[in-house]
Symmetry: C2
Subunit: 211 residues, 2 copies
DNA sequence: GAATACTGGCTAAAGCTATTAGGAAAATGC
DNA sequence: GCATTTTCCTAATAGCTTTAGCCAGTATTC
């Protein structure tokens, strides 16, 4: 019998593609087996179970998204960086809805701590460095950015913004302008001291630990 | 045989409770049947199928959430209204995570248009009336509020904010302050004219049509 | 108050997905 | 060339979904 050449990596990648095509929650071990023209049970030599598959896809997406965001961020600062970062997320979600959904899978703390989620947190804080926020405010800001970006992308993907004459591109620009203005106004002002904060579509509590 | 007294309404309500207990995606026709101590097939006299059940739960949650938000909004204006509205969403998600997740189910346009999602949109715009925004800005603002609220609640529920010393309550307050300041600063300013916009965790495109 | 029609829950059965156990053939190592 | 490991397969169990058809209470009607 000719071997199909299955590996966890190939399965993960194919799973990510499948997710983009049919939706992350429709990703199933069976569907993946069909795609490789192989019996379902065969996949269990490479994957622990269905949840394992989904976790791998999530980690893959998290990593890919972090790479994109990092590339977008390179050499930028201030509002420029803010916009580039935000666009990286939005574009990724548009191009890869299934993977974006996967990146939002809730991971257990250990897995999350070892994931690219950590990089997401670092990048968020890096952007805020350009706004001179003192500590508790910085955490609040990280959380706000994460909320806006994730919330906007989710709602836009869900089609919640599609019954309107006002273009979503304009709203997005308006929102980024607003955030920039807001962060500048919160500049070198009040604030005690505290811990870290978390930003993005990342899965779990992990990435709060700043780098 | 003693009848169980099944009705679509009772099933929907029980489904909502089940969702809060085990998670919306774990809500299954089988589990619901077990809960009523009845055979699975019996439910199919009252529900079209599994998706129908989920849709009903989503509509129920949307309605319940709209009721709460409306109650919170009564007699308030300005920042007061903004905070009350936001808190209604956040509290609902904390008390009923399964229902909140249900409210985010993607509905088809017709169903969505007939849902309580419409009320959510109306309320969002009502709040913004206190800030004197001219049209395109109002839509942008509606979208931003929806994004922040939904995004924050999602991330908080996912535990993304839990690895930090800074309390989420403080961040929430900080964010609401910021939004209020931002909206006031965007006050009677620039802006052409355009369509409507959409805000909340609502499911689909429906509720963009303002009331 | 009995005949009639309806309704609600049941049994049975088929089709999917997930997962485990154990087998056999292909690739690898020495 | 043979032993070992790897890779995929067959077989089987189990749960969820959905359809079809039955039967007994419930409501209706004369």
């Amino acid at each position: 019998m000719v071997r199909a050449g299955l590996t966890p990596e190939r399965l993960t990648r194919a799973g990510a593609e499948l997710a983009d095509e049919v939706g992350f929650d429709q990703v199933t071990v069976s569907a993946l087996a069909r795609r490789f023209d192989v019996k379902v049970a065969s996949l269990y030599s490479h994957l622990k179970n269905s949840h394992d598959l989904k976790t791998r896809i999530a980690l893959f997406a998290l990593e890919e998204l972090a790479d994109r965001a990092a590339a977008a961020l390179a050499g930028r600062a201030g509002k420029d960086a803010l916009a580039a970062f935000a666009d990286a997320y939005r574009d990724y979600a548009r191009e890869h809805p299934g993977r974006y959904a996967a990146a939002r899978l809730r991971l257990n703390p250990e897995t999350a701590a070892a994931s690219a989620g950590v990089r997401h947190a670092q990048m968020s804080r890096a952007i805020l460095r350009g706004y001179d926020l003192t500590e508790p405010d910085q955490t609040h800001a990280v959380r706000m950015l994460g909320s806006v970006f994730h919330g906007y992308v989710s709602l836009e993907m869900a089609g919640s913004f599609s019954h309107t004459a006002v273009g979503t591109q304009e709203s997005w620009a308006w929102i980024l302008d607003s955030l920039d203005a807001l962060l500048r106004s919160r500049g070198p002002a009040a604030g005690r001291t505290a811990g870290g904060g978390s930003p993005m579509p990342v899965s779990d509590p992990e990435f709060d630990r700043q780098g």
